[in-house]
Amino acid sequence: MKILGSEITPYSTYLNRRKFIKGTFATALATTISSNVFANHQASPDIYNKFLGENDTINSYEEITTYNNFYEFGTHKKHPSLNSGNFNPNPWSIKLEGLINNPQTIDLEKLLSKVTVEDRVYRLRCVEAWSMVIPWQGFQLSELIKIADPLSSAKYIQFVTVLRPEEMPGQQKRTIIWPYREGLRMDEAMNSLTILATGLYGHKMPNQNGAPIRLVVPWKYGFKSIKSIVAIRFLNEQPETSWETLAPWEYGFYANVNPSVDHPRWSQSTERRIGEFKRRETLMFNGYEEEVAHLYKDLDMTKFY
């Protein structure tokens, strides 16, 4: 199946829309409603229609924010939305370390002033065989990599989630070895589809979705898209990742969406799109084959799942 390139929002369109919104509503609303609510487009999902693939419809803000896998706040889908109220993502900083020329701890506000935040409407396919379509706001990970300026020996990137058991009740139980860790190969990280997201539906990132900043890698299973990132390490070898460490026979480092390689406990050939009654066929690389298939030309994906 062909996926339209138009699913990725050009930055100019984003800017134009911003201007339009600012011009018409901002002055009227800014004084009475907080900036969060102002920026929230959950009541007008139509504005994202032009970025959608032919067969996709956007999921509602409610669906995206009440059905989450974020074990730091509990293992049930509704736990993150119920248990993340005490989590305070302000202020936030990210440590850049490892094989780079500019190791530093960078304040999120400062980072955002250096990068280009834009809309990206992506399908998200969970390893548990459900999926959603989500309007993220974020910037390309490649922009941050440029700031870090990696050495040529840096082949992989590891990401680490914040460790705050007092604010994240799920971390008080040893379900996973905390903190959660994920990783990408350098060429995957540099791919233009890979973003660090800071918002969804125009709203700053809700706690249950990985506030204030998370990875989104749309052609990989959702667990690769690590949330609430506090450290990014540049390494010369493949880092350990949380799910792979926990159950290597079930979850691999690559975790590319692949309908022909099943999870040992269930088939990956179909998925339930949240909000739909019948299952749909799962697409190779979650439908982003054109953009990413070349990364894996020489990889045996039944072995490196």
Binding site: T66, Y71, I176, L246, S267
Partner: protein
């Protein structure tokens, strides 16, 4: 208080109590109040209820060894049949709602995935139990044969607890609790077999 008469009188209420959750979930399903993935949710609820009720029937048998509680055995058949009712709802949800009668896919799923195989065999084990649940059947088969058939509850409860255990991705606390209870109930039966004179109090 624990007399047979009182127990018989309370049967209709227990019947309604056991029926109620299924009606509630079906109503919530129809009205869209089961969250954003209602098919998964209702399947999980039916399945968990079934497992709990199967364990409950075994618990009743154990507790009935206590003289004062002997009469609770009167509830066992009804609870067992309700366990079968919830397993049937669970299985039907999987067949009709989850996979839309895609027999090819379902067949492969049952063969290929141990966790589904376990659940399916457990369901099969429960069918003869439900079919032979009437007094008439006990008479027709003779108590000895009937009792032998009903030993199928043991593979059923063990397999369904594994079915649940394997489904959970992380934090296996809840399935472990059920497995712990099952082990205790089985140990009690073994102990009783080995020493039939001394009943467990």
């Amino acid at each position: 208080m624990f007399s047979t008469k009182n127990f018989n009188r309370s049967k209709p209420y227990i019947f309604l109590l056991l029926l109620f959750p299924s009606l509630l979930w079906i109503l919530q399903f129809i009205t869209g109040n089961l969250g954003v993935n209602p098919i998964e949710r209702i399947m999980d609820e039916f399945g968990l209820m079934a497992l709990r009720l199967i364990i409950l029937t075994l618990t009743i048998t154990t507790l009935a060894n206590i003289k004062k509680l002997k009469s609770i055995v009167l509830f066992r058949r009804m609870i067992g049949l309700f366990a079968f009712y919830y397993v049937t709802l669970h299985f039907s949800t999987y067949i009709f709602l989850d996979h839309f009668l895609d027999i090819n896919f379902i067949f492969k799923d049952i063969i290929k995935r141990p966790f589904i195989t376990f659940g399916f065999i457990s369901f099969l084990c429960l069918i003869p139990l439900a079919l032979t649940s009437t007094n008439q059947m006990v008479k027709r088969l003779g108590f000895k044969v009937w009792k032998k058939i009903h030993y199928l509850i043991y593979p059923a409860v063990i397999l369904s607890s594994f079915h649940f255990y394997m489904l959970v991705r992380a934090d296996k606390t809840e399935p472990m609790i059920y497995m712990g209870i099952i082990v205790l109930l089985l140990l009690q039966r073994i102990a009783k077999k080995l020493n039939p004179l001394e009943l467990v109090r």
